[in-house]
């Protein structure tokens, strides 16, 4: 079965979606990601969807759900690299993903996460790892 790897980068989790998302895969990702947030005591989740050409309403809602779950577990979520056509489709579908932070690329996404959770906690989590 296909699997989406979750990489740990300091206090953040990095997820790069490079295969076509289908519903089963989305559910597995949601489960694994919440597990990892708790296990790794992650403070931020960065999801890179720059390779996705198609995002349907289900995947859109899944992204919202992940952000909501992460927030409950005290982690910020940033979705980066959304393609223009995907953004247009989501807006036309009426999904503007209100709870999600977004950034143009991974670099800016990282900067956004850092500023969102505050630099002062870096040392704390660095020791944990």
């Amino acid at each position: 079965m296909e699997h989406i790897p979750i990489l740990r980068l300091g206090r953040f989790l990095l997820v790069t979606i490079q295969v076509d998302m289908h519903d089963q895969l989305a559910m597995v990702l949601q489960e694994e990601l919440t597990d990892r947030i708790v296990r790794d005591r992650a403070r931020g989740v960065l999801i890179d969807i720059s390779a996705l050409d198609i995002v349907d309403s289900f995947i859109g809602r899944m992204l919202s759900n992940i952000a909501g779950m992460a927030r409950i577990l005290d982690a910020e979520t940033v979705v980066v690299g959304m393609q223009p056509s995907v953004a247009i489709t989501l807006v036309e579908l009426g999904l503007s993903l209100p709870g999600i932070r977004t950034a143009l690329d991974v670099d800016r996404g990282m900067a956004l996460l850092k500023s969102a959770i505050g630099e002062d906690q870096e040392g704390d989590l660095g020791r944990h790892g």
Partner: protein
């Protein structure tokens, strides 16, 4: 009239018909000589008669049948050519209708029996009417193509995305926003955001004459789509009347930053980047 007899008739009287027709064309189609040369007109007429003869010879009366394909092609190219030269549809149809006149004059001389003459006239009349209408149809289609192309060109012209500063784009909108244009504007802007790696965009609507609920909704959609990609939009150039309209219509612009003019929006954008415009000392 038996199939082929009209063709035979045209065949026998081709030279005389052509001469008569050219004379009538000059009289009926006003300003013809200014736009196309006499030689060109004569060639067109000659080809028309040849194709007509061939088509009539088959005994078919349906304009869409394969026997008429040469005639159809000839008339199509003639119509679109004349449309490009600036002829009116009636002038183009007049090209075919004036042949009717020449043909009738000759039929009247040859056929003495009134009943047979009536039949012949009716048959050729119907055929030439169809051909005349066909030229009008083609004429209209080629005009529509011209209009369509111009619309596309206008769309491309009217949606430039300019870079004001590193990472700050501006989209000056001019003209009425409809669904089709908004789609292109949205796409252009979003693609430019990725291409230039910009995360701030100023949408300037100084040149948009009216803002109704639909236009406002389109703007909000663009802003929402940009936000999904991780970019922020500022809307500038809102005139007092438009501000009034937006509030009267009850449109909620949400948390979109709006500024009265582009300069203010640019200052906000610079500020967000931690930049400022300063006077040179000394």
């Amino acid at each position: 009239m038996a199939p082929g007899s009209l063709a035979e008739f045209i065949d026998h009287n081709e030279g005389a018909l052509l001469a008569e027709w050219t004379r009538l064309q000059k009289a009926s189609v006003h300003g013809l000589r200014d736009r196309i040369s006499e030689a060109e007109l004569r060639t067109a007429s000659h080809e028309f008669v040849l194709a007509l003869k061939q088509a009539v010879n088959s005994g078919e009366t349906d304009l869409l049948s394969p026997a008429f394909s040469a005639l159809r092609d000839h008339l199509s190219s003639l119509s679109s050519h004349w449309a490009a030269l600036g002829f009116t549809p009636s002038e183009t149809a007049g090209f075919v209708f004036s042949f009717k006149h020449a043909l009738f004059l000759h039929l009247k001389q040859v056929t003495k029996d009134p009943a047979a003459l009536a039949d012949q006239l009716w048959e050729s009349d119907q055929l030439l009417d169809k051909l005349g209408l066909f030229t009008t149809e083609v004429f209209q289609k080629s005009r529509e193509q011209i209009i369509g192309r111009q619309q596309e060109e206008m769309l491309e012209l009217s949606t430039p995305v300019v870079e004001l500063w590193h990472g700050i784009l501006a989209l000056p909108l001019i003209g009425t926003l409809d669904s089709a244009r908004t789609q292109i504007v949205m796409q252009n802007l979003l693609e430019a955001l990725v291409a230039r790696s910009a995360d701030l965009a100023i949408i300037d609507i100084t040149g948009v004459p009216t803002v109704d609920t639909l236009v406002a909704q389109h703007l909000l959609k663009t802003v929402a789509a940009a936000r999904l990609m991780g970019a922020e939009c500022i809307i500038s150039g809102i005139r007092p009347q438009i501000a009034q309209t937006i509030i009267h219509l009850g449109v909620n612009l949400g948390d979109v930053v709006t500024k009265a003019n582009l300069a203010d929006a640019f200052r906000v954008a610079l500020h967000k980047r931690g930049l400022a415009v300063a006077k040179i000392q000394g």
